[in-house]
């Protein structure tokens, strides 16, 4: 569905590259996660793939089209949700979707259904200019589904939303991708990535560090952790110990022998912890 070979991109004429010689493929029906801290080059990559930024260097084909040439009709099968919401503030929520729907040459979804889906029911006749940031973001997200895209670009779809709404958006994405939509998802939220993505790419400073499935990553990098709570001098103490670490293993035995253990269970490393381990950097 997407094939990227040796893609580089620079804003301005300086040597500093926002994206450095990256290559990856996204299979039909796959949900591909692009993970990295802000400024890593995720949005830049999405911008090039959606044709909003000019291809400078590399070979990119999206949905069967070579993107160095203009094919407006290819957008009939593509949906794009932007990191920064961008809806007409002088149009109502419904009018925004109605106008956008008309721009496609393929059957489109009912605006009211989408408004309902993203929890904006009752606000459909309010001008989008009066919306909160989160509401605009949801409208932008809803708009990206209007043409039933086969390929769906999602730039930070849940960032900045409150947890309940983020969970709702996540469920919508899950439902669509399960039904076969190919998705290119950009995020710095590892929980979202873990739950939605078939494969993830770690990107940092414009470079892809690794590409793998979340489960394989956990097998490779995830140290098994043991969390023990025990009583010491009438106080509850909690310790997290690695089963892969020699000293920690001895400590586990020590605790079990010396104290009254209350709980003890193992825990998988999160994608976030793996990211930190691989890149040496956090995700903020």
């Amino acid at each position: 569905m997407i094939s990227v070979k040796n893609l580089s991109h620079s804003y301005g004429n300086d040597r500093k590259l926002a994206v450095k010689n990256i290559s990856f493929e996204v299979e039909n029906g796959e949900t591909f996660g692009f993970l990295g801290p802000s400024g890593a080059g995720k949005s830049t990559t999405q911008g090039i793939l959606t044709g909003l930024l000019k291809l400078q260097k590399g070979d990119v084909s999206v949905a069967g089209y070579d993107i160095s040439r203009v094919h407006n009709e290819r957008f009939n099968t593509i949906g794009v949700s932007f990191e920064q919401s961008n809806v007409y503030s002088k149009l109502t929520a419904k009018e925004n979707l109605q106008f956008y729907a008309k721009l496609f040459d393929v059957p489109t979804r009912d605006p009211m259904e989408l408004i309902h889906l993203v929890g904006l029911l009752g606000k459909e006749n309010d001008l989008a200019g009066t919306f909160s940031k989160g509401m605009k973001h949801r409208l932008t997200f809803a708009r990206s589904m209007i043409n039933n895209p086969e390929l769906w670009f999602l730039d930070e779809p849940t960032t900045g939303l409150d947890p309940a709404i983020a969970a709702n958006i996540k469920d919508i994405i899950k439902e669509k991708t399960t039904a076969g939509t190919t998705a290119f998802l950009t995020t710095h939220n590892m929980f979202i990535a873990d739950e939605l993505c078939d494969r993830v790419a770690f990107i940092i400073d414009g470079e892809i560090v690794l590409i793998d499935t979340p489960s394989s990553l956990k097998l490779q990098y995830g140290q098994k952790l043991v969390v023990i709570t025990y009583l010491k001098d009438d106080q509850v103490v909690k310790e997290t110990l690695k089963t892969t670490d020699e000293k920690d293993r001895l400590r586990i035995g020590e605790v079990v022998n010396l104290y009254e253990v209350q709980t003890m269970h193992t825990k998988e490393a999160t994608l976030e912890e793996i990211f930190i381990q691989v890149t040496g950097r956090g995700l903020v």
Partner: protein, 332 residues
């Protein structure tokens, strides 16, 4: 074409909700009404005269050729008529000549008209002999009014450009150009949709303004042609202003800058001697003004209208090609 119309319809919808855009749409019409009220009418060139029934029948007949004549029994009755609200001049025999009685608040034209007619009558001009002079007096367009209406047209074109600018500034503020760029609508269609907004509103405003001000017997085909070149002008002004500005206030400031060459072109046309007119040939506004002038004063022939509008289009095209990379870049 379908996509162009969709962009146009959305812009129109938004313009209806924008107070500034509404003012821009309504302004030319208000000004046209103003011009009609405060300059001597074109359609209404008939002057009302009050004469006495016992006047020389030859005089009455002569006056009836050029004015709407009302007859009264006495001088008092005629004066009473003059003092009513509308503009009537009484022309009453006094000794061997005539005196003209006015209320005092009539337009100068009424006074001049009555005086000139009387003078012509006294010097014994017959209709036949004075045909040329009198015909032109009664039927030609008022130069001041034509100038004002022409200025109004120039302004309407600029305001229409302003509409495009407002629309683009809005798209920039909402960052919606990106959203349209990931639909099957091409950038060219997007640009043409906005052009249609400016051009359509400019054309409609100009037509309404011409009808209101009474220029309904001009050559409409010519006006349409001038309208097309006006559309090109609105486009270039609008897109440049829109892309140069980040908000409506800034766009309005940029309009003022464009006012300069427009005002300069109009002044140049009106004030420069014929052998200096060439100094204005660089300005598309000059040619647009000139083309309109020819059409409005009904002195236009096709070659000169084609030349003027051709020059407008040519110069606009030059500006367009110079600005094209900037426009393309600004839209992506």
């Amino acid at each position: 074409m379908k996509n162009i119309l969709k962009i146009f319809m959305r812009d129109l919808k938004t313009a209806r909700r924008d107070s500034m855009a509404l003012i821009i749409i309504i302004m030319p019409i208000v000004l046209a009404i103003g011009i009609t009220l405060f300059t001597p009418g074109l359609a209404d060139t008939t002057v009302n005269l009050a004469l006495l029934k016992n006047d020389d029948p030859a005089h009455i007949q002569y006056m009836e050729n050029f004015a709407k004549v009302e007859l009264f029994d006495t001088r008092q009755d005629a004066i009473a008529r003059v003092q009513k609200r509308d503009d009537v001049a009484a022309v009453i025999r006094k000794d061997k000549s005539y005196e003209i009685i006015l209320q005092g608040n009539e337009p100068n034209m009424v006074e001049n008209y009555a005086a000139s007619l009387s003078a012509l009558y006294e010097t014994g001009q017959t209709i036949e002999a004075s045909n040329v002079t009198l015909y032109s007096f009664g039927q030609s367009t008022s130069p001041i009014k034509t100038m004002l209406v022409n200025m109004l047209i120039s302004m309407t074109i600029m305001l229409a450009g302003m509409l495009i600018a407002i629309s683009i500034v809005g798209e920039k503020a909402d960052n919606t150009i990106n959203a349209v760029n990931v639909t099957p609508v091409s950038q060219t269609e997007f640009v043409l949709g906005k052009t249609l907004l400016g051009g359509f509103i400019a054309l409609v405003s100009i037509i309404i303004a011409l009808l209101i001000t009474g220029y309904d017997d001009i050559n409409w085909l010519m006006i349409l042609l001038v309208g097309v070149s006006s559309m090109a002008l609105s486009l270039i002004i609008g897109f440049l202003m829109g892309l140069m500005s980040d908000d409506v206030i800034e766009a309005a400031t940029n309009v003022k800058m464009i006012m300069l060459p427009v005002a300069g072109s109009i002044l140049g046309y009106e004030l420069l001697a014929a052998n200096w007119q060439w100094t204005m040939y660089w300005s598309p506004f000059y040619w647009a003004y000139k083309a309109n002038q020819l059409v409005l004063s009904k002195t236009a022939d096709w070659p000169s209208v084609l030349l003027s509008t051709g020059m407008v289009l040519l110069l606009t095209l030059l500006v367009y090609f110079a600005a094209k990379p900037k426009i393309r870049k600004g839209l992506s």
